[in-house]
Amino acid sequence: MAGFLKNRFHRFAGKTTILLLLSVVFFFAPLEASGQRRFSKTYPATRNVRLTLTNRSGTVTVEGWNRPEVQVQAYLENPAAAINPQIVDGTILINIVRDNYGRGDIGSVNFTIRVPFDAAVDIETKVGNLNVSSVRGSLVRAKISSDGDITLTNISAPMVSAENGIGNIFFDGDIQSGGIYRFTSMSGDINLRVPFNSSFKLIATAPSTRRINLGSFSGGNMRFLGDGRRVTGQVGDGSSYLTVTNQRGSIAFIRR
């Protein structure tokens, strides 16, 4: 009986080892096969830390978490691309454009960054998507110089700015009293999901499509100007400013 059990145990241990080895191989295989390089580093964060990231091409995802540290993970399409994050006065600076200035094909760099909930987030890229979620610091700014979608979810910040060329913008968050909120796109859809009891002064402009859907915020205080190309008005006591401009796309408000 003991021999049988010993034999089974050895077989089981052997299988487990093989499985573990295979999982390790499969985990690293895609990166090696495609020639990607992975960068990962964790930085201690001070209170109200600020993340400033300038990317060239690729997707950037920033998530808030309940830890006093910033974790930066990057997947570099071209292993030769340089990435040199710096910490200056409590600000974490990552600038792929500057780090690779004058270099031709550096490929995309895809980031996944975790920051404390109260962090200020200032990210921009030339091409690619930007996603920010669960952040309630003093600022959230996301800018795409050309193509890409911006998705801001579960945001609670007094200053929010999202700007892109061709692509959609989605904002799901609070409108704080005294806050400034600005959403600008050349083409695409801008969808704003905000609480029903929000209070703001609104200037929404969609000159080409005239598609401005105020949802549950439409009412007596709203005025359509310029043959429906612009809507201005006040919701609640108008304690914050909300400016939305979409040159060739639509604007829609969704009740949260």
């Binding site: 710096q86 600000t91 995309s108 700014r141 110089s145 050349m186």
Partner: protein, 241 residues
């Protein structure tokens, strides 16, 4: 960063003298404050036009010697002070006005002050947050109409044309920079840039046509201003790749 700090730092920011954090703070403030963004942009246009004119300035070969010569000439031409008899002033001559002249003067003063009061009140009750360059004659205050009629200020159309010309000059500058760099871009970056530039150009054409048909369309004037700024930003941001 508040507006005062931002405006103090605009010059070093444009000259690239700010550190990374300073630049980031400036970018952040400029992205949320339309007033400072416009100021920065105006300043940038002025700087660009100044840079363009440097080569055309005539610099004397020895400016110090030239200044010495000018100084000597001025000193040699200063005459000794001559004590002159005090001239008769208007008051000392006395007011020799007839009754009708005095009445006409009084009426003229009353009329001018009433006009100024009316203009002032109208101007006060028609405040506008709009940019003067993107406004039509329909939304001008009486005072502004009066000033533009007598030629003291530009009409909204003239102001808009001037601004478009300035923006176009900046766009040409950044476009040259982009043309020098774009050979090094990969296909993905190049396609995205071209796609966005074409879209902006389409909007510029559309707004220009609308404004030709209806020069008083405030909103289109404002949108044209915005897309030209967008074009300038796109070119500037891709010029550092």
């Amino acid at each position: 960063m508040n507006c005062t700090e931002c405006q103090e730092n605009i010059s070093p920011y444009l000259d690239g003298e700010l550190d990374e954090i300073g630049s980031a703070n400036m970018r952040t403030h400029l992205s949320v404050c339309a007033g400072c963004a416009k100021l920065c942009e105006d300043f940038s246009v002025i700087l660009e036009s100044c840079r363009g004119n440097v080569s055309s300035e005539i610099i004397p070969p020895n400016s110090q010697a030239l200044w010495c010569r000018i100084n000597n000439l001025i000193e040699s031409e200063i005459k000794p002070e001559v004590v002159e008899e005090p001239k008769k002033t208007l008051l000392s001559r006395g007011w020799n006005l007839t009754f009708s002249q005095a009445g006409a003067a009084f009426l003229a003063i009353a009329l001018i002050s009433s006009l100024l009061t009316v203009v002032g009140i109208r101007n006060y009750f028609e405040p506008s947050g709009e940019d003067f360059t993107s406004r039509s004659s329909a939304s001008q205050t009486t005072f502004e109409k009066f000033l533009s009629r007598v030629g003291l200020t530009d009409t909204p159309q003239q102001a808009r044309e001037k601004r478009v010309k300035e923006q176009q000059a900046a766009i040409d500058y950044w476009n040259k920079r982009v043309q020098q760099r774009r050979g090094q871009w990969d296909a993905k970056i190049r396609d995205a840039f071209d796609r966005n530039l074409n879209l902006i150009d389409e909007s510029v054409s559309e707004y220009t046509i609308i404004l030709q048909e209806n020069p008083d369309d405030d909103l289109t004037g404002e949108m044209l201003d915005t897309v030209l700024n967008d074009k300038m930003d796109l070119l500037r941001e891709f010029s550092d790749l």
